[in-house]
Amino acid sequence: MGQLLVSGFAIGCIYALTSLGFVITFKSVGILNFAYGEMVMLGAFFATTLVVSLKMPLILGLLLVMIAMVGVGIVFAFGVYRPLRNKPVRTVVIATIGVSIALQALALIIWGPYPRSLPTLGAPEPINVFGVSILPHNLYIFGITIAVMVLLWLLYAKTSIGWKMQAVAQDAEAARLMGINVDFIIITTWVLSALLGGLAGFLLAPLFFITITVGFAAMLKAFAACIIGGFGSFPGAIVGGLFVGLAESLLAGYVSTAYKDALTFALLIVILLFLPQGLFGEKIGEKV
């Protein structure tokens, strides 16, 4: 039980990071980014190239991956967001799926079809805490996730750039009239999304073998987490991510390993039947 909770919580933390990165662009600029998973994939592949192929220390690798993800975020802001900003949601969905397919194909050309992996953060041997053996990597995941959440909260609640981001998310036009550089804020949002995705990919790489499809799988889980939490809500994304991670782990442990994904999705449908807006969804009336 304890074992399942710890591993579920670790995966849940990664899902929470992924979900935050996924939902942030939707909340700020209304783009449902189906190519988001490829940011996770790129983060993981950059990490394996830097750490495994170029033999860099993990911390330096992480730093360089983050710098690369800033670039990815800027490319997305100009290459994906700008042409799609005023398009209907179905166009955005299929167009970002197109981007996702193209990026996966690109990754296949660059990194090849063979699965890659990354060494764990900390020692590879588990340590014993109150009778539960925990991989040090999982402890790093907990620490990094909590640190990222505190930083994000500080960014949003305490800094002027965070306030500006909230203002743009509420009403971009009014924000522009208040003298906020909306374009810069939107680019920042995309960079933040890419950073969260890349970080999730970096933390995911030691746990799974990384192939070109890892991103889409991660995005699907993040999407499910955001929906359970209530789409567009940051606390919802975090709680939803932890929920999906724990549900997966417990269902695999107590019910069936083979059916854990199917059962998690079934659980999602059941939750939506009773809470059509998710856990933290805004109960908004329909606009006429």
Partner: protein, 366 residues
């Protein structure tokens, strides 16, 4: 009108002749197989158009229904001695039933919630196909599915299957064409253009959406039966999320909301891998980029663009067909503007803006 008829009859005749001789022109079984595949996708995408094109609900469930239809036929015709047509009936009944059952709860949710729920449904179907070894043969799939046969006629050659499926596809297209002219067809469009307005007019929108979902599922069931019986082998790999993407891309590239668009999109994306064969490893890259570019620059799809081209350039300039006379009543504002005007004139004496903020915001929103 007479001009149009004179134009229509020969082109229809030429079309029928072309469809009839097509398999005779194809020398290899591979090319005939592609023809069959195009017909299967036509049926699936024409059905998908009900939910996503006409009603405007972005559903990712079509490939789940496709899987159910294919597996129903495959399981019944391999494990029991059921003939092909009984498998077809069973596929229709099962997918229709599941479509209605799944449609009732899921269509109450909207937007991104609907996308997720329908994706989850399709993924559950695939995962069940992978893991329920006793019923579905697991990841290895089901082999030796018998070819179509009716009343002692066995459609074993590719050419025979092509003619059979051509007939089925035409029947399904006619069904879809007919449905669009019933009260349901009009209700679909009413929901797409303004769900709340349709609701206020007394339309049971959830019921109408379930009908659309049911129809989509039945078409996918027929497509599943065609797929299983013509290939003779199915496995869960066929029914992954990339299949959903392909079906959605076919509809959007062809032109959503029209049967012709669904047909054209299905044909284009069936043959695209062949046209881009020279690209080899770069195919997926080009495919992804094409999806992005077509959705960005041809918002109405290929058929929408062709219609626009016809009305603006070809008909008046090239074929010298006079434009239709203007309709008797040309509304100056749309109904919503008129309503806004009526509402606001009661309480305020300021001039009503031509487009109120609520209308503008509504049009800009998701």
């Amino acid at each position: 009108m007479r001009q149009r008829k004179a134009f229509l009859v020969p082109s229809l005749g030429a079309g029928v002749f072309l469809l009839a001789v097509l398999p005779l022109l194809m020398t290899s079984d591979y090319w005939k197989q592609l023809l069959i595949q195009a017909l299967i996708y036509i049926v699936i995408v024409v059905g998908y158009n009900f939910v996503t094109g006409d009603v405007g609900q972005l559903s990712m469930a079509q490939q789940g229904f496709f899987a159910i239809g294919a597996y129903t036929t495959a399981i019944l015709t391999t494990t029991t001695a059921w003939p092909w047509w009984a498998g077809l009936v069973a596929s229709i009944v099962v997918t229709g039933f599941v479509g209605a059952i799944v449609g009732i709860p899921t269509l109450k949710v909207r937007g991104q919630y609907l996308i997720m729920v329908t994706m989850a449904f399709s993924e559950i179907m695939r995962l069940v196909a992978v893991n329920w070894y006793g019923l579905t043969g697991g990841a290895g799939g089901i082999t030796k599915i018998p070819a179509p046969s009716i009343a002692g006629m066995h459609f074993t050659s590719k050419t025979a299957i092509y003619y059979l499926f051509l007939g089925m596809a035409i029947i399904m297209i006619l069904v879809a064409w007919r449905v669009r002219r019933t009260k349901y067809g009009r209700a679909f469009l009413a929901i797409r253009d303004g769900e709340l307005a349709a609701d206020v007019m007394g339309l049971n929108t959830t019921y109408v959406k379930v009908v659309a979902f049911f129809l989509s599922a039945v078409f996918a069931g027929v497509g599943g039966n065609m797929f299983a019986s013509s290939f003779g082998y199915i496995s869960p790999d066929t029914f992954g999320l990339s299949q959903t993407v392909l079906i959605l891309a076919m509809l959007l590239i062809g032109g959503e909301g029209s049967i012709a668009g669904a047909v054209v999109g299905a044909i284009i994306l069936t043959y695209l891998p062949e046209l881009l064969r020279f690209a080899a490893g770069y195919y997926m890259l080009i495919y992804g980029a094409l999806i992005l570019l077509i959705t960005l620059f041809l918002p109405g799809g290929v058929v929408g663009y062709a219609k626009k081209l016809w009305h603006t350039t070809l008909a008046p300039r090239v074929f010298k067909i006079p434009p239709p006379p203007p309709s008797v009543y040309t509304p100056k504002y749309d109904a919503r503007d008129l309503m806004m005007e009526a509402l606001s004139s009661r309480s305020s004496f300021t001039k009503v803006p031509k487009r109120s903020k609520a209308v503008a915001a509504d049009e800009g929103e998701v």
